[in-house]
C-alpha cells in the first residue's frame, strides 16, 4: 500500500515536471505564471500522497501552507504582470 501511494506520488510529480517543461518555455507571460499554480496543485497532491505513504502527518501541514502560498504567489504574479493601464480592466 505504501509503495503504491509512493508510486502515485512519483507519477504526479512526473506530470508536474513535464508540465513545467512546457510552461516555463512560454512563449507568453501568462504561461509562465501558470507554473506557480501547477506546482501548487501538483505539489500538494504529491505531499498528501507522501504523507499517507510514509506516515508523516506534518506533510499535510506543509501541503496546507503550500495551498495558501501557491494561491498567493500566482495572484502576485498575475497582479505584477498585468498592464496597469488596461482600459478594459474595470469590466470584471
Amino acid at each position: 500500500m505504501a509503495d503504491l501511494l509512493l508510486a502515485a506520488a512519483g507519477f504526479v510529480l512526473l506530470m508536474v515536471a513535464l508540465g513545467l517543461v512546457r510552461i516555463l518555455r512560454g512563449p507568453t507571460v501568462a504561461d509562465r505564471i501558470m507554473a506557480a499554480q501547477l506546482l501548487g496543485t501538483g505539489g500538494i497532491a504529491t505531499l498528501l500522497l507522501i504523507a499517507a505513504a510514509t506516515g508523516m502527518d506534518a506533510a499535510i501541514d506543509v501541503a496546507l501552507a503550500l495551498a495558501l502560498l501557491a494561491a498567493f504567489a500566482s495572484a502576485a504574479f498575475a497582479y505584477g504582470a498585468a498592464d496597469p493601464d488596461d482600459p478594459e480592466a474595470d469590466r470584471g
Binding site: 506530470m15 513535464l18 501558470m34 499554480q37 497532491a45 500522497l49 494561491a71
Partner: protein, 95 residues
Amino acid sequence: MSLDVFSLLAIAAGAFFFLAGTVGLLRFPDALTRLHALTKADNLGLGLVVLGLLPRVDWPLGALKLIVIWLVVLLAGATVGQLIARVARQARPSP
C-alpha cells in the same frame, strides 16, 4: 480492505486526471486553453486524491485539513484563473 480499494481507485482516477491535465498543457494551442487544462483537470485530480486519502487520515483534524486544502485550491483555481486569463488577453509575448 474495501476502504483500501476505494482509496486506490480514487487516487488512480486522480492520477489519471493529472495525466490529462499535463497532456492538455503539452498539446493545447494557446495560453487560454492551457490555462483551462491546468485549472480544471488538475483541480479535479487533486479532489479525487483528497477523496481517496480521506479514509486514511485521522479523524477529525486530518480530514478537516484535507478538505480545507481542497477548498483553498478550488478558490485559488477559480480566481487565479481569471487573473491569468486577463494577463493572457493582454497578450504580450515575452522577448
